[in-house]
Subunit: 409 residues, 4 copies
């Protein structure tokens, strides 16, 4: 049995576990060292460190202090890894913690984080998803049951000081363009809730002051939320500091492309079985800027889709120039409207798009002025037939249950 | 053998064929009527009506007057189709014209249309792709050979006057924000090169004056350039005028998500075998705004991918807010840089991304401030192994041939 | 456009076309020569040379003289191919003749050929399948519509005299064990109906006297009836005579594993687009006895199956030792019994197993005394849900039509 | 966390665990009862109960007393299940025991069980396969690494007395045709090594005297060794006794169609997570004789195959009549010969065919006198390219290691 390098106790605060951290900084001490060729287990908290509970209230989603996320396990040093190398990581397997076979999905209040459709769903909402072997279903969203495309939402190596400075600089500049926006344009370093792992004293203070927040994906990968980076895939990460410093967390049992609900996928605590290797000087050899990866040969085979199109004309009819973000939002809204005809509430439909193995494609980005985005909804996840027919849609979902909602305070 | 409703003679100008048109307008006369349940053949020109030639010069790509595109076959009326219905179209098959078993791909000059990476590839370039049965390869881009995901880039029903007015209004408003931009933000109606099909006299003049250009995708579908809307798929189009008025063209032998090179996919003349049905009042029944579709059970099974990530930090390092367009551009640039390590020129690599069955996914759109887009490059289309290894990349492509280039005049 | 090397006129007898032959013999003259690297078109008759008609009577299936089959197009010589080489054949595309967009399936009478389930379906029966683009359906078998896995049932190179002698010797020996059996154990050479292509005089007489019948698959490939050897696949054939002598025919629009109805798949006239190359001395290099092949990247993606098991206990309950033939027959009978619950006649169900992209797997061949075979029935080909449920099966098929039947005379 | 109904301690003999049994008999007492809708965990021994060890000697494979197999976990009663019902079993997940992340494959000596190619590999041989997450590889068979298609080789419900009698009767009759054959034609009840679960006294004696051996698949399913009955699949079992009595074991991490090496797949100890439901009177409603099943949406996506053909002419050149068993043996031998060209020993090649996700198809069973069987070898499991090329095969496997061999004593 492979060694478990990092253990997490879900009954204790993530802040008490010194193999966890929630900022990116080169000075976070390695919590373990491995050799190239080693395989080992890493356990993780859910991204909120257990703040969100398995119940029928969205109060926790509404009230969470987002400056605490994401609680990451690591960093792990790989002997011999040097800046400019590629760290090759095999995700040999990923799964939920046995004592916690459930996950959550939610929408943040527009006042506390928001989400892709926050103008349409401005309040905190939450659904709970039970995990039964390879499958998941929810008491809050009837009529769907699907196999998970389990993956870490967040994984990457520590930045070096130069890269960290670049991140902070460019994000600060963006915030400066509209510093009072709600939700904000980006999140600057924030000391109060920093978890600096095993760093102490001055080192800890420095990390708290400078540490990049873990929310956005960046050059090193990080919070990419790529559903296809799933169990069985192989990833090539740029190395910036000696040893690499691989950290990970934010495990998802399943997620649609875009993680549109932001809070987020089916979020869970879990474990990863990893193997690491090094390609010396791989960054220059292959011209790598961001991580690249090879998807798994084992993934859910859903392939019968109903596909929704969206173009870059917004909800008010205003024309935007090749804006894929708006086009994908329209495709999502079109899919939600469609699913409502079968009896789903808007929030339930939105949830399905956030958690099911939905594909979001950039279909056209040159046909001025409209971008075209497409949302691929797998039809096989539904208990009933969702294809159009002459008979019209049947209201299979009878109401009575819905995604929990907590009004703003 | 099903009837060929519309024939095209590639040796003659598309302007001489009155079953062709190149604008969207409700007054374009139906060129044929069919019954629900009928299946029939429609032939099409390539989108430029034969302007681009099978040779080794990009002069035609540089010099083309883009106000002539797209030459569409239709409109075809379906008896009994009324506004508010859904027109169900089975693409029973799609293929190239037997006498024209080749296609072209190109980049427009930045001065004449541009493209997704026009800042990086500002000059007119062209490659020719030979079609051999299910496969294609190019004398200008060695080392790749793949099965086509054949599809119409453009298909849809005629707009009604109200929808047409809305299009013209919102696009005019956008142009007004920067009317001298090169390339332009959008294309307004343009009379001189209008092909109004069988309309004559005043009707023709009205179409020329008001007819929407065919470049962007819109509510009715149109130029969606969705590669998965391929042979064997089933599409549900909103009907706006009595009879529907289905038109189509811009056939592609193969295309990557985004059609990033703009000129465009592997563009070809061809034919479609279609079947039509009607779902009465389907627009309201299913809450449809844009077309929806079910992909084909027959598509190339490429599934072994190398995946490139991009985030919404641009080439200069500037931070953008959840901008998927920029993120996908970075993923494309990352893939191009990678392929160059195997000996490809930048233009060849860009071409491959434009024409091969590349997937472009919207992977993350909520992790402020970075969107994350991913480009899925099928590894099986290459004659050699493109995966990273400790040995580093091998220069399989030896140079000597390249995509043709024509400097601006 | 590639050259059509062999043309067939469906209005004329195959015996009048000297580029056709219906026996295997080294002395059949090459009808055309090509170079390695060439691609070209070959047209073919259906395997019976047009004997079976598109009508609602099975008389032709009952009355056919099976000594005439199969009518093959060829042989084609490849310059430079020598005994011991591998002839690499790319099936660039395969399709039906435009003027003949239909195919037939039937069961032979037990008195004239029989079939896999001839004890259960002892009389001649026939169904007609219409080809519409990529899809097929039948007026005799309602409720199914599927994309074809188009392929040549029969393709291979000419044997040399030694190989031919071996075939005749071993098959004659088998026949001798039960020479009066109906249907026979094998078919010996038969002069009267021989079509020797362009051979004349003594050469023709020799071919008629010695030529191996085309029914069984043999070392050279031949009548393998492998559904996955479809459009887009690549085959490596052993070469026995100078030039190889590639012949082909027996095109199928679709077929299930086993071609259990014998008459046979969805049989059609059509064409193949081929490319040929040579691997010198490939037979010894790779230790090849029978052809090997690589399947197509383009095939119907049906993957949702209902799977039936069968074991080697026969219909009377008798135990057989690891007999896969009997096990597969039980799996087929189990599937037929199941489909009858939805309203199909036994003959319709049998037909579906013969023509749809059904998989037949050898699941267990070591667990004495029972072999286990499995039949994979794709659920997506049906217009209705065929999965079991608590509600029990619904009789979607209302009767009224059936596969045509002609009693023995 | 679902309840673990049956636990196994791999350090203790399976005979000491009264929730295990190794014969089929209606009188074996249920070890647990569940309700329809319940999900639960069942642990299992490997099929030999731990007799085969993780070492480099095949002595254990040579010396095993095969009358002890298979050690099954169960029977489990489902409340409300009655004869004639269908028991619907969801295999929510299946995996190896954490403390035992390895499996074995072997060939039995011809004197003790034999196997599909026992004439070619008559001696006991063994290879060990390490399980790393979703993947497996072997120190005895270099150059291959693949994702497991994890499944129970054996699962089914208890027979009723009538069915049991039928089994014993027909198998005894078969044995009587050649009672001294080595290996035997079938295995009769054998008291000495019977494990009758919780039965005691007379009941135990009766089970020992009459209990059917677990080796062959039968009407109830049982030892079907179907690789596609894998994690995530759904099975419909006939119920013969009140409560059903579901038992299972013989877990495989991976197996090729046919389980040709007999000892067997990659055999392991493990666990299953199951859910059960009942379809009342389903046997008659759906005309079920053997179990039917729906495969998993999650399976390894290997789809690039090299396919080998075999026909029913045996190794000596003798012609057999439509014998799929012989045809598949030839396809296997052809594949072995091919793989030897890349440096594998025959035993290594045979092992690969036994353990990798190889497909065995019944391609033609009507073209007298030759059956055609095909073996689909996934090319992606190899570290190197196994496709043919003009350059000829490269000896990637350098020798030095081989599958362990123990001569007969």
């Amino acid at each position: 049995m492979p060694e478990t390098l990092i253990k997490v106790d879900l009954t204790k605060s993530a802040y008490e576990n010194d193999m966890i951290h929630n900022r990116w900084h080169p000075d976070i001490p390695m919590v373990a060292w491995v050799n190239p060729g080693d395989d080992f287990i890493v356990e993780t908290y859910d991204w909120t460190g257990g703040f969100i509970k398995n119940n029928d209230s969205a109060d926790d989603v509404r009230d969470i202090d987002l400056s605490i996320v994401h609680f990451l396990s690591g960093p792990i040093g790989v002997k011999g890894a040097e800046p400019g190398d590629l760290l090759v990581v095999d995700l040999l397997d990923v799964g939920p913690k046995k004592e916690s076979l459930w996950g959550f999905n939610g929408f943040f209040s527009k006042k506390n984080g928001g989400g892709f459709l926050t103008e349409h769903f401005p309040l905190a909402q939450k659904s709970i998803w039970d995990i039964k072997g390879l499958y998941t279903s929810s008491r809050h969203v009837p009529g769907v049951n699907f196999a998970g495309l389990v993956h870490p939402g967040l994984i990457g190596c520590l930045p070096d000081p130069k890269l960290l400075a670049k991140w902070n600089e460019r994000e600060t500049a963006l915030i400066a363009t509209n510093p009072t926006r709600v939700p904000p344009l980006a999140n600057p370093p924030f000391a109060a809730t920093t978890h600096a792992g095993q760093a102490k004293g001055d080192a800890k203070a420095k990390i708290a002051a400078e540490g990049a927040r873990t929310v956005p994906p960046r050059e090193h990968g990080g919070n990419c939320d790529i559903k296809d980076l799933s169990r069985g895939s192989k990833i090539y990460f740029p190395v910036y500091v000696p040893g690499g410093g691989l950290s990970m967390g934010d495990l998802h049992f399943s997620q649609g492309d875009g993680e549109i609900t932001f809070c987020g996928a089916i979020e869970m605590a879990g474990w990863l079985h990893l193997k690491v290797e090094i390609i010396k000087d791989g960054v220059a050899k292959y011209g790598i800027k961001n991580p690249i990866f090879k998807p798994s040969p084992i993934t859910p085979n859903y392939k019968d889709y109903l596909i929704f199109e969206g173009i870059s004309v917004d909800e008010k009819g205003e024309q935007h120039y090749l804006d894929v973000h708006i086009a994908y939002r329209q495709a999502c809204l079109n899919a939600i409207e469609y699913l409502k005809k079968f009896g789903y509430s808007g929030a339930q439909a939105y949830t399905i798009l956030g958690v099911a193995p939905v594909q979001g494609h950039i279909s056209g980005v040159v046909d001025i002025p409209n971008a075209c985005a497409t949302l691929y909804l797998p039809t096989e996840i539904f208990d009933f037939d969702i294809m159009p027919s002459s008979a019209g849609p049947i209201k299979h979902i009878k109401g009575g249950v819905d995604v929990s909602l907590s009004p703003d305070k």
